[in-house]
């Protein structure tokens, strides 16, 4: 019998709330099937199963909040037809859960079956109640597990799994705290697993800003564009030539067909959230401005759709005109690149032997060195720079 447990999204996650079972007892599940929606600090996450089998029993009720590691369901592995054998030998490692940051679940150590001492009665009661004997502390001679030990463990488990009232909607403060923890989990994973390389280039923004000022003069106030829409469009357009940067690293490099820019939005109360701007390369600057006008207030109110949090193929962070000169980003796994823009500053620029003062933007790229090399990244930044010299073509 396989135990399906509440997954962990990281070391700081202690519990999750089951919002919906997608299966019922008796259902056959295949590898990759989504079997539950679980609300976590990242919002509602669809949980997949990684082995085929038949759902034997659902142990957690909808809207119940349970600690990470709690057994939520029992699943009979494919091929095992008869009633399951006593549950003292659960297999722990055949299930994994995937979340949108692909945070790996810390493996639950396989139980040490050898040397497990328990009375036949204790074994029978444990099997009848689907209790894993390896989780029971024996109080008998030499640590042997007695009937009393098993009954006590069952009682404790039942209290833990007793249905509780539905969790109230998260308060903004709680949500902000959750987001902080989600960022912590994703960035820790990135720093642990992704060998970053960093590149930087300075971009003369004279032409782009002049074009923007001209465009905005002809528009009503409500239709004005911000410089960032040009940065989003130029990034997306440049990525068409560098598909290895618009990809994820999952058992090797996997290019993505759509260019969905994950746009970093900082929350005033701390933390950040990164919704996707889908097909950004195909949107005009006006379309992109409209998208931002829709996305940013919803993101700050934490009212994004789950798909908006899971479809990004690359991340873009722009510090804006009040920000630092440059930003060197941390890649959001499993993506393979993040593009960073600092504030636009007036700087002396030498050109054709003459020095002038120009608005200059420092653009950076952090790339996953497993996926690409500095040469690719360097060429990408050069393409980005070229596109921003022709703002009318964006």
């Amino acid at each position: 019998m396989i135990e399906f447990r509440m997954p962990s999204l990281g070391a700081d996650m202690e519990a999750g709330t089951l919002r919906e079972w997608k299966v019922k007892p008796g259902d056959t599940v295949e590898r990759g099937d989504i079997i539950a929606d679980v609300e976590t600090m990242k919002g509602i996450i669809e949980i997949e199963v990684f082995d085929a089998g038949v759902v034997e029993q659902l142990l957690v009720k909808e809207d119940e909040k349970v600690p990470v590691g709690t057994v939520m369901a029992l699943i009979r592995p494919a091929g095992e037809t008869a009633a399951p054998k006593p549950a003292e030998r659960h297999v722990y490692e055949t299930f994994k859960s995937i979340v949108n940051v692909k945070e790996e679940i810390p493996p639950v150590p396989a139980p040490a079956h050898e040397g497990l001492r328990a009375s036949p009665l204790a074994r029978r009661i444990a099997a009848e109640n689907h209790l894993d004997l390896t989780t029971v502390q024996g109080s008998g001679e030499g640590g042997a597990i007695t009937r009393e030990d098993v009954e006590k463990a069952i009682a404790e488990r039942d209290i833990r799994l007793k249905p509780r009232p539905a969790e109230p909607a998260p308060t903004p403060a709680a949500s902000t705290e959750n987001i902080r923890m989600a960022v912590a989990a994703a960035m820790s994973k990135s720093n642990r697993e992704i060998p970053h390389y960093y590149l930087e280039t300075s971009i003369d923004m004279s032409k782009a800003l002049a074009w923007l000022a001209g465009a905005n003069r002809q528009r009503p106030v409500a239709k004005r564009l911000l410089p960032v829409v040009l940065l989003i469009k130029a990034t997306a357009k440049a990525l068409r030539e560098f598909p290895d940067l618009n990809a994820v690293w999952e058992n090797g490099l996997q290019r993505k067909a759509e260019i969905n820019i994950g746009f970093v939005i900082s929350l005033r109360t701390g933390g950040l959230i990164v919704p996707a701007i889908r097909n950004a390369d195909k949107k005009s600057p006006d379309d992109l401005m409209e998208t931002l006008t829709d996305l940013i207030p919803r993101a700050r109110a934490l009212k994004l759709r789950s798909s908006e949090l899971s479809e990004s193929t690359i991340t873009l962070t722009s510090l804006g005109d009040d920000g630092a000169d440059a930003v060197f980003g941390v890649i959001y796994p499993p993506q393979v690149a993040i593009v960073g823009f600092g504030g636009i500053r007036e700087q002396p620029v030498a050109e054709n032997g003459l020095i002038g003062v120009r608005p200059v933007l420092r653009a950076t790229l952090a790339g996953d060195h497993r996926a690409t090399d500095g040469l690719t990244g360097s060429r990408f930044l050069a393409a980005l720079q070229q596109l921003l010299q022709q703002p009318e073509t964006l």
Binding site: R224, V228, G320
Partner: protein
């Protein structure tokens, strides 16, 4: 509009755009964006809201004249004349 009316309107609009801030704590010479943590997107939304509410259009080249509460009130009064 009196100066007090303008100030009330400014606070209302800022609160609508950035609900998690407290515009009423702004001092006359505080930089509005820095003090409230408003980015360029919210700043544009504020300018759009002022346009809708008061009919005042602030061109981009005048953004620098509206940085503090004191400056913004003075600017709006000038435009009202």
């Amino acid at each position: 509009m009196t100066e007090a009316d303008i100030k009330t309107t400014i606070f209302q609009l800022l609160k609508r755009i950035a609900p998690d801030t407290e515009p009423s704590t702004l001092g006359p010479t505080d930089n509005i964006r820095d003090t409230l943590g408003i980015d360029s997107f919210d700043a544009l939304q504020f300018i759009i809201a002022l346009n809708e509410k008061l009919g005042i259009e602030i061109p981009e080249q005048d953004y620098g004249k509206t940085g503090t509460l004191e400056q913004l009130i003075a600017y709006i009064k000038t435009k009202e004349r």
